[in-house]
């Protein structure tokens, strides 16, 4: 196992070492100590490695991740896992706003709560939150799945496209063009798999599915109040 003290090594050298790992690297397990809320830790990774960050992280930890697994042993700052393409990010604590923003793929797991705009503009990422999520989550969500074992804040899924939202608890309010949907067997299957991948034992049947009403897909003057 490779261990890096971020305070000693510095951000640039740390990321450089992680970026230097090729697909067939044998240095597959890394630990970053003394994260101390630094920004852009382990962003832009593109190798099948596992990085554990000890402590809380600042903005954009794991940004644009490809292939790597990143474990954050603390809470995660704004924009964690933004534009994630593949791989997995697991946050032991809470996540700040814009979690997984515009993510195109991969999985993000939050064991605590996630703040506002969780999954904003998501484009294929799967996000599973054990606790609650904040307001305006999945705003303009295009595709992927957002699973919330707790409650969702105001305006869930505002102006969303084809992303799916599964909420076990209460939804304070739905955003424009977001509606409650029927939970069909294929949705139960997706949810079962995501909960298993996240390691949460919630029952899929307890969730409600939400998604786009598709009324704002083409501009109609009669919907002007919603724009």
């Amino acid at each position: 196992m490779q261990t890096i003290d971020l305070t000693e090594t510095g951000l640039r050298e740390t990321n450089k070492m992680l970026h230097a790992q090729a697909a067939n690297t044998n240095q597959t397990v890394w630990t970053i100590e003394n994260a101390k809320g630094a920004h852009a830790i382990a962003c832009g990774l593109d190798a099948p490695i596992e990085v554990t960050v000890k402590g809380s992280t600042g903005y954009y930890c794991g940004g644009m991740n490809q292939q790597a697994t990143i474990n954050i042993h603390g809470s995660a700052g704004p924009g964690t896992g933004e534009n994630i393409m593949s791989g997995k990010i697991v946050i032991e604590g809470d996540a700040s706003q814009y979690l997984g923003a515009t993510g195109h793929g991969g999985l993000i797991v939050v064991k605590g709560n996630a703040s506002s705009r969780c999954g904003i503009s998501m484009k294929g990422v799967n996000i599973v939150v054990q606790g609650n999520i904040g307001h305006m989550s999945a705003f303009m969500g295009q595709s992927g799945n957002l699973v919330v074992c707790g409650d969702a804040g105001d305006a869930l899924g505002d102006s969303c496209y084809e992303a799916r939202f599964f909420v076990r608890g209460k939804v304070k309010s739905l955003g424009a063009d977001c509606e409650k949907k029927e939970m069909r067997p294929e949705h139960i299957a997706i949810l079962t798999e995501l909960l298993a991948e996240a390691g949460f034992d919630a029952k899929p049947e307890e969730f409600t599915r939400y998604g786009s009403a598709r009324k704002l897909y083409n501009f109609d003057v009669d919907n002007a109040a919603a724009y």
Binding site: Y60, G63, Y98, H104, I120
Partner: protein
């Protein structure tokens, strides 16, 4: 009943209202018939103070000229040397502005790459990601990082020669993109992760940062992901140029792209294009002042865009302190957009060559702003690239002609003192003396 005519009283001539002009009345009738605002492409069409309101004085006894065609007048520019390991070296200071694949056809993007590369300059992606034909044909490609993040991925990011974080666009400061369903073909839809045929609204704000402090961290992240190799530009609309440039530099930008309201868009509300933003002439001096106040002029490059058409515009922009310019609309015209050879078809669309701006409808007779396979066939990317190269060469020669006449051996040596203003507005906006005087409105110590 008798009327005035039968009484022999002369009639006044029919008089059109300046307030309710035929243009205005047609807008009202269109609004009344449809219930929706007008959407169009292009930039501000209204008459604005422009670089045409400035003149170069040329050489005289106190300034001697350089021999045209003999003495060297350099046109090269390096962008992004402040923080980037690999700054961009351009042979000419005229770059191609960001325009999306989606708004433009694949072959049109290819032509922009071909023309720019042949002329020794860069081209720029747009809202919709990087296409292989664009990357393949552009020797220097700037990758736009937009609020929508359509098609955004780290592999393409690392293929870019520079990254341009788009905060605003001159045609619509504070507005996001718009691509209507007619242009969302299978390929466009797939690149943007959207269903085919829907009206696509791009976000107006970045999803994961707000404000200058966040921007600084966003720039840090992009540099970390790309190994501090490529320059990072920040593009802002001509909204509050002094503060926007100051904040962009503070956040760590290597270059600032500043886009005035004549700058085009693929599609947005006409009211937005015509009534939000500032003319290009008005935004350059505050931007340069900001760089000078920070001691960063010529260290952080300023790229000016919005209605640049000729070598004279290039020379004037550079005399006022820009390091380079960017062209969008002018490049499309060079490719063949709005060419009178398609007049009959423009007429069928209810318009005329030069006025066609319904680019969002995807029915461009010139085959440039469309995703229709039949219309796209009309456009030859090799010929288009050759035309763009020619146009860029002519602009460069024109700018050099002016610079030599002013005694400058590099376009960057042009200076505000080479200029006079023709109008009070231009004098005030550009802080250039009104021709025949040593005064401009607002000049310190003059009481005005």
């Amino acid at each position: 009943m008798t009327n005035d005519r039968s009484k022999g009283i002369p009639r006044t001539t029919p008089r059109q209202s300046a307030t309710f002009s035929q243009d205005v009345n047609s807008d009202i009738r269109r609004a009344a018939a449809t219930g929706i605002y007008d959407i169009r492409g292009g930039g501000a069409k209204r008459k604005l103070p422009t670089f045409d309101d400035l003149l170069f004085m040329g050489a005289s006894i106190s300034r001697y000229p350089l021999e045209g065609y003999r003495e060297k007048c350099d046109t090269s520019v390096t962008i992004g040397g402040l923080h980037a390991e690999n700054p961009i070296h351009l042979d000419i200071p005229i770059t191609i502005a960001g325009m999306s694949f989606g708004a433009l056809s694949g072959p049109a993007k290819e032509a922009l790459g071909r023309g720019a590369s042949a002329a020794g300059t860069s081209t720029t992606t747009g809202d919709g990601g990087m296409t292989p034909e664009e990357r393949g044909h552009s020797s220097k490609l700037v990758y736009q990082y937009l609020p929508s993040r359509y098609g955004m991925n780290p592999d393409d990011l690392r293929k870019a020669d520079a990254i341009e974080i788009v905060v605003g666009q001159g045609a619509k400061p504070g507005g996001g993109g718009m691509l209507l369903g007619q242009k969302i073909s299978d390929r466009v839809a797939a690149m943007r992760n959207l269903p085919k045929g829907i009206d696509q609204r791009s976000a107006c704000r970045h999803p994961d940062w707000t404000g200058p402090d966040d921007l600084e961290i966003k720039i840090l992240e992009l540099r970390e992901i790309t190994g501090w190799k490529v320059p990072i530009y920040v593009k802002v609309a001509g909204a509050r140029p002094y503060y926007d440039v100051t904040l962009a530099v503070k956040a760590g930008a290597d270059a600032v792209v500043l886009d005035g309201m004549q700058g085009g868009t693929a599609a947005t509300q006409d009211v937005f294009i015509e009534h939000v933003g500032q003319p290009t002439l008005a935004i350059i001096r505050p931007a340069v002042q900001a760089l000078q106040d920070l001691g960063m002029h010529r260290k952080v490059q300023l790229i000016l865009s919005g209605g640049i058409r000729s070598g004279a515009d290039v020379a004037k922009a550079m005399a006022l302190g820009a390091d380079a310019v960017a062209i969008g609309t002018a490049a499309l015209i060079a490719l063949g957009d709005n060419d009178p050879k398609w007049e009959a078809e423009y007429n069928e669309l209810g318009t005329t060559a030069g006025a066609y701006d319904d680019w969002h409808e995807g029915r461009d007779p010139a085959g440039i702003t469309t995703q229709d396979p039949e219309l796209m066939k009309r456009f030859d990317p090799i010929e288009g690239g050759r035309r763009l190269k020619n146009y860029l060469k002519v602009m460069t020669l024109e700018a050099q002609t002016i610079a030599r006449a002013c005694g400058k051996n590099h376009l960057h040596n042009l200076e505000p003192e080479d200029l006079v203003a023709l109008t009070m507005e231009a004098a005030a906006m550009a802080k250039i003396p009104l021709a025949g005087t040593d005064w401009y409105p607002g000049k310190p110590g003059t009481g005005f």
